[in-house]
Symmetry: C2
């Protein structure tokens, strides 16, 4: 088999060796429960402090903001949506929840579930540029809106939403604004005094943290009730003893993400562009989407007209090139693209390639070769007819 | 400082070395997301299968039962209570939830939270033997009862509830029955064809699994909606990518818990009894509770009349003896004992000692020495006056 070329970093990234190394002592020696009022429990305090400080650092959070360590980004999103049901719907009668049709499943489904309790979910449509704009949100807002929940950027297309304007609109209208920052952390520079979101969530899977990590940021002064209740862990915001090892891993990955941000924005962006150009050169019909938009530096979605994307992905997998068409918490990329007005028979030929700081020039050269070979081979077999 | 003697295994146990060893490859090499339809994701399938099989094994679960891997026991308890709100309250109008006043905080608080949504929580009282009986539950049941949620055994006193009778009563009355098995796994033999519970939850902290692990068992044929929504992970029962390393760790710990069960029931029980006798001999006023009851083999709660338990615990900590008076998801042991009718000025002098398979004769000998020394010293200082 060819050397493996991993371009599916929107689903999972390789946990960094340094990060795993920092976790080991917490698994083997410092295994106490920090809620225990004795030395065995308390010996992990410094590591807990450092872990949280690193998360604050990556977000540029202030001291009076709250950060809750969770077991995944999905848990953090569910936390927010549920808390706002308790805090806004039950307390203040606000029962209107807005998200978009290119968002990921946790927000869409958590809001959908609230409909069983008398809430109304509103799913706005992205525009033809693959983005959700402040105008789109403004049209959807109502006096009963409790929450606008959006992905900061789409993990499959890389398109970045204008969250500065959107969050400012929300602030003006007194509406809570949740941004899922999973795909932008370590890839974008931002300033939370300018982005007016009230809540931010993310999973650690996308910047080389260990699996099973995530967090929820709450702007200082915004009350947020807990989701998993039943203990005073994390200032009562999340009950249950958590893995300090995983917290330490997430913290370490946050630090590394800061250090690697410039590299992602320049070198990885160059490799992403090289991938697009290489594929276009080798397979002229290919359509890379949203190249004129504000995009993440490491993501591209490319259609291969006439080729069912699942078939191409399957064959790329056999050659050791790993990419994505969605799944898991993602929607299928075909649906995401159709939601931006791309025709069905093009949308369902698209594949998303997601690079990381570990992607090399050699990876991209080889990937271009394999992808164009496999695209030509698939095209010959006329799979397009079945689209 | 003296050698550390860890008798707080109801808060956390040392993760077994073999278990951590099995996790490492999942942290460093096999880090893919199993939802990814390519080799890097799929290479973890064998480990996932083995992990779940081991959990099934420890519970003696059947193939058509469901098991959901969670990030803690608290999450699993919240899952159950919330699902039953959706499945029973919203669907069938059953809005009455029963738990007991010696249960742990997650069940009590999750039920309390439902009261904001129009549910009624009923907290029954334990009897003078520290247990909740079927008669007590029978008195509390109503035609609108959705759920009876109880700890299988109390982790601070060790008293085992008669869950066979209670679960049978629930089955007869068509009421769901959730048992928190956190403290009995690896310590009790049981048969889920005789225990008629519909749901069982547990955290891995109490049998040498890594922190941040738990699970929820659902009897075959019982529908249970999801708590963290937004993905098709775990057959849609829990969204979000989880740590396969932690699942593997939990599975490995389950296997070891089965192997160690006889040892716990005999050798560890002997050491627990030795601890009680030693303390009684060295400090005559000591009162070990519930010795005539069905108890866990590794737990004892002992009062030291005239000594505030926090003060004694503090001094034991300084000498390297770690025990518990509750906290975290536990209620304070003083409250647990008072809920069984123990007088306040005795209840708040009690300390819970929780042994593990790693506790040795030498540990117990030394612990007895230190505990009696410190009890006499504290007694002299007449702290009892402030009780």
């Amino acid at each position: 088999m060819d050397k493996e070329i991993y371009l599916d970093n929107g689903m999972a990234t390789r946990p960094s060796e340094r990060t795993i190394g920092k976790m080991i002592p917490l698994l083997t020696e410092k295994w106490g429960n920090p809620m225990s009022p004795h030395k065995k429990g308390q010996e992990v305090f410094p590591e807990i402090k450092e872990g949280f400080e690193s998360i604050y650092g990556l977000l540029g959070a202030k001291e009076d903001d709250d950060i809750v360590f969770t077991s995944s980004g999905a848990e953090a999103v569910n936390h927010i949506v549920n808390s706002l049901y308790y805090d806004q719907t039950l307390e203040a009668g606000r029962n209107h929840f807005i998200t978009s049709n290119i968002d990921e499943a946790p927000a869409i489904m958590a809001i959908g579930k609230l409909e069983e309790s008398g809430c109304v979910g509103k799913m706005v449509s992205a525009n033809a540029q693959g983005a959700v704009t402040a105008d789109i949100i403004a049209d959807a807002l109502s006096p009963r809106t409790a929450l606008v929940s959006l992905d900061w950027a789409n993990g499959l297309t890389g398109v970045i939403n204008p969250v500065g304007e959107i969050s400012e609109l929300c602030e003006d209208r007194g509406v809570f604004c949740h941004l899922d920052a999973s795909h932008i952390l370590g890839k974008l520079y931002f300033d939370l005094s300018k982005i007016k979101a009230t809540h931010i969530t993310f999973g650690g899977d996308f910047f080389h943290a260990p699996r099973g990590t995530g967090a929820l940021w709450i702007r200082g002064g915004r009350h947020c009730s807990s989701f998993i209740v039943g203990g005073i862990e994390q200032a009562g915001l999340r009950a249950g003893s958590y893995s300090v090892a995983n917290l330490v891993g997430l913290g370490s990955a946050c630090k590394e993400a800061i250090d690697a941000r410039d590299f992602l924005c320049t070198e990885t962006a160059r490799l992403r562009n090289k991938l697009e150009k290489g594929i276009l050169k080798g397979f002229h019909e290919a359509i890379p989407f949203f190249r004129d938009q504000e995009r993440l530096p490491n993501v591209t979605a490319i259609a291969f007209p006439g080729i069912i994307n699942e078939y191409l992905l399957f064959n790329l997998n056999k050659r050791g090139v790993y990419a994505s068409i969605g799944g898991g918490s993602f929607q299928q990329i075909g649906l995401v693209l159709m939601n931006s007005g791309i025709e069905k028979n093009i949308a369902h030929t698209a594949i998303s390639f997601n690079l990381s700081r570990e992607t090399t020039d050699e990876d991209i050269d080889r990937a271009v070769e394999i992808i164009t070979e496999e695209a030509h081979r698939a095209k010959k077999l006329s799979f397009g007819l079945e689209l």
